[in-house]
């Protein structure tokens, strides 16, 4: 009885297995409920989807107003900005992209806040604070504590390697990217960010923007400043509560 060479076990990566399982279970279920409710996949072209000229005019006017408000904000007193409590800021983008002047959008893009509920760590320098003042109605920011810094980086930390977003699941990745600055592991990154080490800028650049979950009951839904009862602007230490909800 000649025995053939035992076949190698085919290793299927976990991502694929999870995808298959998800496909079988939940997508079939949603299709079923869709059929029952009479909703079908695919966007139907409705009459309301066609943009009317009044809407276009309104959008343009809103954008111009937004730009004017931004310029007014920059003219306000800057004295309060130059004395922050800590060196580290965490900025979360709160609002979408409608009615945003292209210049405001560009600032947010430069801060790497490209999507709603994205967050970034920033150094609390006067230049940064000026930028944040310009985009105030679209972001909220504050001083995160060490525990939140650590939680964010562990749970949602992604590094930027070769312009690709790589999850930080192994210290080797970090060593290869930041080894030359003396940062070898995830704890090093946390320490660097929380305590502002010598390679603060490079570390912050390496860490990609954090895509946070939406807070279940966290936000007021208003564009007003935090001190006036809304969501936006500097909320100093209260940011930690928000991070807890969004992480």
């Amino acid at each position: 009885m000649a025995e053939a060479e035992p076949l190698e076990m085919a290793y299927i990566s976990e991502v694929i297995l999870k995808k298959r399982k998800h496909k079988e279970e939940s997508i079939a279920l949603t299709r079923k409920t869709q059929l029952e409710l009479g909703q079908h996949g695919g966007k139907k072209r409705k009459v309301e989807d066609i943009k009317r000229p009044e809407q276009l005019v309104r959008e343009f006017r809103e954008r111009e107003l937004d730009f004017i408000r931004m310029k007014q904000r920059t003219k306000r007193a800057k004295s309060a900005l130059s004395t922050p409590n800590s060196k580290l800021l965490f900025v979360i983008r709160l609002h979408g992209k409608n009615d945003m002047h292209p210049k405001t959008r560009k600032i947010l893009y430069n801060l790497r806040l490209t999507r709603i509920f994205h967050g970034v760590f920033l150094k609390a320098s006067p230049g940064v604070l000026e930028l944040l003042q310009k985009v105030e109605p679209y972001v909220t920011y504050g001083y995160p504590n060490v525990k939140n810094v650590s939680c964010l980086i562990y749970k949602k930390g992604y590094g930027k390697i070769d312009n690709k977003r790589v999850p930080l699941i192994d210290n080797n990745i970090i060593e290869q990217a930041l080894g030359k600055h003396g940062i070898l592991c995830l704890e090093d990154i946390v320490h660097e960010v929380a305590n502002g080490g010598p390679r603060f800028r490079e570390t912050l650049n390496f860490l990609g923007p954090f895509s946070l979950n939406k807070p279940k009951e966290g936000l007021q839904g208003k564009k007003a400043l935090f001190k006036d009862g809304g969501d936006t602007g500097n909320r100093e230490n209260q940011i930690n509560d928000l991070i807890d909800k969004m992480n």
Binding site: S13, P167, I169, E187
Partner: protein, 408 residues
């Protein structure tokens, strides 16, 4: 030369008893180039549908039909519709509607005219392409069988018989020959299928219908076999120099069962030429070139020329790794921060320690006091009271004795 590269078709010999000619050896003929032309059912269908219109006879209604009345409309006011009505009186016909297609006895809508365009012009090259395709299809047994011919007992496709068949005179001999070469089941099928046509055609001089049998193609002009074979039901005869698409692809469907004589198949090369050489009979005509010379994709892909320059298969596909949450998954946490284990253990121990000490403290406070301790506490209290009332060093002693009424 191309002819040498072509496969050879063997000529079926006819038995010596049929004819006086003795054919000893089996001869072969090279397959003519026509049989390798590209088969285009779309062109054949188009050409056939147009050519079959050419033998139509015009029909039309009489141009006077429905107008041989002097009808006039009665106008309004008489409680009748305004259709022209037949004038006069004394018959049923008077006052009836006329001239309209809706009227009884009126002319039809759009009366048919004889000058309708009955015939169709087809480009000569397209007609030739169709014939060439049909000839090529007739040499492929699967297409012939798909068309419905019974060719299971035929020894070879294309079927070529020796020239002695061209001098057959009797139909009985013709039938024997068909049986010899295995073509009789097809002729039999045609004979069995003779039936009366359903529909009005049967009273319009198209009473009988039947299937098509084999097509015999002969080479020499004035061959006697025409008369021998023409009465067999289903069998058609054609001279190779005048091949008809309506016979080669009846109904526009490729793959008629064709029986060639040796001289016919030898003439095919000169009539149609080859892919490079012009035909002799048709001026400047070259067989049509196919879009793909070698249409076998699987063979092309697996050929050496392609496989030698193709990049190797990527077995190691790098997929995005799944990110697991270190705050929930201990193993992943340890991979990132091995100290986390001891940190967590120490935190747990410290917590346990805190809990324990708190519990002890509370227990001590809540514990019920024993009798001896209780008695001792009471005695200590009494002793202190005694010292209090007896101790004269106490400053307010005088007031105290009066107040309490205590005597020493």
């Amino acid at each position: 030369m191309a002819a040498a590269a072509r496969p050879l078709v063997s000529v079926q010999p006819l038995p010596a008893s049929l004819n006086d000619m003795v054919t000893d050896h089996v001869t072969t003929v090279a397959l003519p180039d026509v049989m390798k032309a590209s088969i285009r059912p779309d062109i054949v269908n188009f050409v056939h549908s147009n050519i079959s219109k050419n033998s139509r006879q015009p029909y039309a209604v009489s141009k006077k039909a429905g107008h041989q009345t002097s009808a006039e409309s009665w106008g309004t006011g008489r409680a009748v519709s305004r259709i022209p009505r037949v004038s006069g009186g004394g018959t049923h016909r008077a006052g009836q509607g006329a001239f309209g297609n809706m009227c009884r006895g009126g002319r039809m809508f759009a009366p048919t005219k004889t000058w309708r365009r009955w015939h169709r012009k087809v480009n000569v090259n397209q007609k030739r392409y169709a014939v060439v395709s049909a000839i090529a299809a007739s040499s492929i047994p699967s297409l012939v069988m798909a068309r419905g011919h019974r060719v299971e007992s035929v020894p070879e496709m294309p079927l070529v018989i020796s020239d002695s068949a061209e001098s057959i005179e009797k139909t009985s001999t013709a039938i024997k020959v068909l049986k010899e070469i295995g073509a009789y089941p097809d002729a039999e099928k045609a004979k069995d299928s003779q039936a009366i046509r359903p529909g009005k055609g049967k009273m319009r001089n198209r009473r009988y219908i039947s299937r098509k049998g084999p097509l015999i193609v002969y080479g020499t002009e004035g061959a006697k076999l025409v008369k021998a074979f023409r009465n067999i039901p289903g069998v058609d005869v054609a001279n190779v120099e005048r091949l008809n698409l309506l016979k080669l692809a009846p109904g526009g469907h490729l793959g008629r069962f064709v029986i060639w004589t040796k001289s016919a198949i030898e003439k095919l090369d000169s009539i149609y030429g080859s892919f490079e050489k012009c035909s002799e009979k048709k001026q400047g005509y070259v067989l049509p070139r196919s879009k793909m010379v070698n249409a076998d994709l699987a063979r092309i892909i697996n050929s050496d020329e392609v496989q030698s320059v193709v990049k190797p298969i990527k077995k190691e596909i790098k997929r995005a790794s799944l990110k697991k949450n270190p705050l929930k998954n201990l193993n992943v946490m340890l991979k990132l921060n091995p100290y986390a284990k001891t940190a967590r253990r120490m935190a747990l121990l410290a917590e346990a320690e805190r809990v324990k000490s708190k519990k002890e403290k509370l227990d001590k406070k809540r514990k019920p006091v024993s009798k001896e301790e209780l008695a001792a506490a009471k005695a200590a209290g009494k002793a202190w009271y005694k010292t209090m009332i007896s101790d004269s060093d106490y400053t307010e002693f005088e007031n105290f004795t009066k107040w309490l009424g205590v005597s020493q």
